[in-house]
Symmetry: C2
Amino acid sequence: MARGYEVRPDELGTVHIGLGAIGVAVARLVHERGARIVGAVDIAPDLAGRPLAEVLGLSAALDGVTVAGDLADVATDSADVALHCAGSVLAAAAPGLSAAMAAGLHVVSTCEELAYPWDDEPELATRLDREARAAGVTLLGTGVNPGYAMDYLPAVLTAPCRHVTSIDVLRVQEAGGRRAALQRKVGAGLSADEFAAGVAAGRLGHVGLGRSARALAAALGWRLEGVDETIEPLLGDVDGTAGAEDQVSGVHQVATGATAAGQRVRLTLDMGVGVADPREEMHVHGEPELHVTVPGGIPGDVATAALVANVLPRVLAAPPGLLVMTDLPPPRPWG
Amino acid sequence: MARGYEVRPDELGTVHIGLGAIGVAVARLVHERGARIVGAVDIAPDLAGRPLAEVLGLSAALDGVTVAGDLADVATDSADVALHCAGSVLAAAAPGLSAAMAAGLHVVSTCEELAYPWDDEPELATRLDREARAAGVTLLGTGVNPGYAMDYLPAVLTAPCRHVTSIDVLRVQEAGGRRAALQRKVGAGLSADEFAAGVAAGRLGHVGLGRSARALAAALGWRLEGVDETIEPLLGDVDGTAGAEDQVSGVHQVATGATAAGQRVRLTLDMGVGVADPREEMHVHGEPELHVTVPGGIPGDVATAALVANVLPRVLAAPPGLLVMTDLPPPRPWG
C-alpha cells in the first residue's frame, strides 16, 4: 500500500521447521510479535512430542502445539508460511522445502545456498521455482549473510549511481560472543594443520559467500563468468597464552567474480575470535564513488532471526516462485 | 524475475518534462543508456521549438525531437514514462503530473513534495492516486532527498532489526561545487537578517525534509503525531575574508516527529559552502543498534538524476497508483 503497509500479526499463521538456535530465535520473535504459531517440526528425537512452548522457553501455552518429527503430522490448513531453519546445503534441504510448498505454504528459509541457487544449481533452482509457482507460493532464502549484509544492502547502495564498475564488500565479524556452533565453524583454537584438514573435509568456513557474490551481481544485472572462492586461517593469539601465534583464531574467506566486460564483485569475510575492528565496509566504484561503513558491524544471529521475521509481509505480497531478496521492497520490523 | 531482472533500454520510450539542470541531466543519462527519447516539454519561451539534442548538448539527432511548450503538443503514443523535473511544490506540479497520467504515461518526478504527500496533502494525494489507478499507470516522486538518502536507505537499515525505537539521520552536504540555484537556496553569502527574510518568504532552504520524515516513518509502519521543522543559518567564514563571522554559509534544518508510543524520527540537514566533514550518518536505535556512515556523502545532483533513471524498470513493473519509494525493490543502474 502506498501510505505505508499494515501488518496484522494475528492473521499470520506460521510453521517452524528446524528448532536449532536460529529456529528457536525466529519462533520466539514471531510469537512476541503476535503471530499464531500453528506447528513445529524437528527431526531431533529428543524434541519429538515435546510442547513447543517448553522448547522455546516460553510460559505461554502456544495452543498446545507440540514438536512433530515430520511436517506430514502438522495440521497446516490454518498456516500461511513455513519458516525453515534446517541446514545450509540446498540439496539436503530441498525435500523439506518441497514438502512445505506442497502443503500450500510460503517458505522462508535460512538455507544459505537458497539465497541465490540459479547459477550453481540451475536444475534444482528451476525445479523449486516450478514447484512454488504450481503451488501458488513464494520461496525465499534469507538471513544476514547471504541475504542482506553482502548482497541486498550493497545492491541498495547502487541506487544513486550513474554507473558502477565494481563493488568491494568487507565483513569483519567477532565470533567470540556467538553460539558455539559458529565458533567451531570458524576453526578457533585449531592448529594450522587441523584447520587445513577441516577445510578439506568441508567442516570449516562460512557457507554462501559465493552465493552472495552471485546474488549481488544478479541484482546489478551482471553475468559473472565465474566465482573464485578462497578460505584461509586467521592466525593469532586467541586466548592470551604465550606461544599461540600459530593457533587459528578464525577464517578469512574471499569470493571474487567478474563479467566479460570487466565489472567486478569482491566479497571478503573475516570471522574469528578476538578479531580487530569488527565492521561492515562497502565500496561502490563508479560514479559517484561511495564508501559505507557500519562500525561494529551487524550482529549475525540477531539479524538473521529478524530478517526471517521481517520479510514475511513482503513474501506474502510477492508473486509466486523462487525469489531472491532483491526482488522484494525493503523489509522492516512489524508487530 | 528471480534470476536478476533484465532491462531492454530500446523498449523504453521517455518524455522529459522540465529541462532545468536536473531535467537535462536525466535526459542525457537515459539517452546514454539507450532509451528512446520521444518528446520534451518546457515552459521557458527561449526553449520552445529548439532541437532537444541542442538543448542537451548532444551531437545525436534524437529523431528530430524539439522542445514543446505543452505536453499536448507531444506525440506520446510511443512513450512509456514521463520524467518530470519541474518544481518542488506539489500543488503547482500537480496539473503537469495529471496531464502526463491522462496521456497514459507512468510518471517519475523529482517534485520533492510528491515523495510522501499522504499526511500533508491527503486530498491531493488521494486524487493523484485515483487518477493513476484510473489510467493504469504508476506515479512516483524520487530523488536523492527526499527519495533515498534520508528515507529509503535508513528504512533498508531496519531490515536486520528485531525492533526499532528511533532513527536519527544526519546529512552534511557541501554546496560549494553544486549548481548556482542550490547555492542561492542555502543562502550562502547572505547576512543573518537577509537569511531570516528569505526564510520568512519561503525562498531559502531545502524542500521536503518533513516529507522524508513522513516517508521514513510510514516505511516503518509508524504514525507520526506531527512533524516539527526548523531552519536556521549556518554561520561562518565563507570566503576567507576577515569579518565574515556573521555571514551565512548555509542552512541547518531539522525535522522531528514521534508516534504516540514514543517512536521517533529525527532528520538533520546541514547544507552550505565550506561545511566541514560532508557525510551521511544514520543511527538506528533498537536491537541491534546500527550506526552507518558514508564519508563524503552522496553527491546530490548526480544521485538525483541517477535515481530517476534507475527506478524506471521498477516503476514499469509496479502496480498502478501513487507509490512511495519503499514500495519498490532496490533500483540499480541499467543500460
